[in-house]
Symmetry: C2
Subunit: 344 residues, 2 copies
């Protein structure tokens, strides 16, 4: 009778013995790193199933210097929209799984988290969200020589790959769309002040895209930062409509405001879209589920997250050079835009 261990889980040695082959053969069946005859493969695979074998990730990692884990650094700031964050996270995790990678979650207030997981070789690569223009973490990451991708565009990527939605292009597209409808007084209802102050790159780039496009269209830009609550929205609309009575269009880059924007506009005596047209830069899910669907330039969180993981994998497997990738904006017309009323 074989001396079979009863308590501990099966190892590659058990499988080899059960299949009547060597451990290296078992290993190569799993990795596919060398040709295996059909017969032995089948023998090995059935042995693995019989023993419910599954390789210890730590042993594999030690021997191969790969953990098959990706790190993901997520923001925990009060000024970022959790819905959007969750979409990115979902996209990254889902895509990572298609590459047989798991995802280790790091929060950005975990100072030293990046250094820790890289120097301990816990991760093979990193994706970092919510990048600021002059983000100190970029330097840390760049010094670490692990494949890394930033979701966002810092002033100096320091040789790291970056991917993001083209927020500047989105703002430009919004202005162009409204301008084509005859609007000349356009206000930009943007990210929370906190996001702008810390120069979150999506906030900066959207605002700059707006300002530059206005300038090239001879439109005098109006912009106001706004937190995602009704108190702040009331203030913002007050300031817009009191100082700029003639505003006929709004570009809203703040998904948190959408549920309450309609109500507040009517409280300001503006009906939608007759008095003010609104284009929003937001995830399709929130902009489309409204009673009256918004004209929206969708933030493609899924695409961006997927691209981020693909880019990490490219740099790992193929040692590709760093790249910058921007996802182009697309405008979907809803019921919140129409031609501008003739000036009085």
């Amino acid at each position: 009778m074989k001396n079979r261990k009863t308590s501990t889980a099966a190892t590659i040695i058990d499988v080899a013995r059960e299949a009547g082959v060597s451990t290296s053969t078992v290993s190569y069946v799993m990795s596919g790193n060398r040709p295996i005859s059909k017969e032995t493969r089948e023998v090995v695979e059935s042995a693995m199933q019989r023993l419910r074998y599954s390789p210890r990730s730590s042993a594999r990692a030690l021997a191969s210097s790969r953990s098959d884990v990706l790190g993901l650094v997520v923001p925990l700031r009060a000024d970022v929209n959790v819905g959007v964050v969750m979409q990115f996270v979902t996209a990254v995790v889902t895509t990572a799984r298609t590459f047989d990678k798991d995802v280790l979650l790091l929060t950005q207030d975990d100072a030293g988290g990046i250094s820790r997981v890289t120097s301990q070789s816990m991760v093979d690569g990193l994706v970092m969200m919510d990048i600021e223009a002059n983000d100190p973490r970029v330097e840390v990451l760049a010094a670490r020589d692990k494949p890394a991708v930033l979701i966002g565009m810092p002033d100096d990527p320091r040789g790291l790959s970056c991917v993001d939605f083209d927020f500047a292009g989105a703002a430009r597209l919004a202005v162009q769309h409204l301008a084509a409808l005859g609007h000349r007084r356009i206000a930009f209802l943007g990210s929370p002040p906190a996001s702008l102050q810390r120069h979150a790159t999506y906030a900066d780039r959207a605002l700059n895209g707006f300002l530059e496009t206005c300038s090239s269209h001879g439109i005098s830009p109006i912009s106001v930062a706004c937190e995602a609550n009704s108190r702040s929205l009331v203030q913002a609309l007050d300031s817009i409509f009191s100082e700029h009575e003639a505003v006929t269009a709004l570009i809203v880059h703040n998904e948190g405001l959408l549920p309450i924007l309609g109500e507040n506009l009517s409280q300001h005596g503006r009906s939608l879209p007759e008095d003010v047209s609104v284009v929003t830069i937001a995830p399709l899910e929130v902009a489309g589920s409204a009673v009256r669907p918004w004209t929206v330039i969708a933030i493609p969180a899924m695409e961006v997250g997927r691209a981020a993981v693909e880019m990490v994998m490219d740099r790992m497997d193929l040692a590709k050079p760093a790249e910058l990738r921007l996802i182009a904006p697309v405008l979907t017309e809803g019921e919140t835009t129409c031609v501008a009323a003739p000036q009085g």
Copy 2:
């Protein structure tokens, strides 16, 4: 001249040599698993710093059978509020770090994720969110003999630890509070139909708590499920006020409705709180940031998440038996409740 490797990172052997001690001494300085004289400790520590040593997690895991990683299974369903999910996630990750654990993120649609990370020994324990009454994953988890904690209360925990906010108690408290104010017609505006249909335990328990408390107070209960959008809210309020004109109080267990509830109530000709009092069961952050703060029974996501991790650690380190833990509800009065108007 010493033959020092230039490219590869320092190992425990390098540190031992640099410090003039054995590798086990270095290991024990790190783990604290046996007494080390102050002098040698300092020598070793300075050697570690000089060499920028940090242990390879895979090697440590292989030798010690611990990964120092916790798995966290998060929901990706459309009917759960992402804000609440993020709060739980934040709490779990933050607390895990205080135990020197990292967190591996699993999505619940990743079928087999639980089996995979446990059988590969990627995690030392698991926390699973968004439990359903008869959740098939509970069985999978229970069969895995890793410490695990459920955030939620399944019908049969199968020997696993559970922790959650006392949603039933919260609903009871809400009814009691309103009843004490003289309200006899109370409607429960609850979770989305999808949450109830799949018997997400928070949805079930809140609703049952409401029904039972009404019954014991001789109040005839009115309850309606509602998705977190204005279309659904309009329907819900229509059904409440058309069929039950005399309703004077609402219990809202659906954070997504709060930003738009006030507006919709006034559209139904009800002013807040004169005509209808509202108690909401929601995270304090969303209920408190309103222009008119809600009377709220706070969902303490941070506490629950922290407790979950602590319970996993207890079961790991101390081999404690499974436990069920409910976090007690606390009601904070806002400006949305007042005594019921005398019946006409």
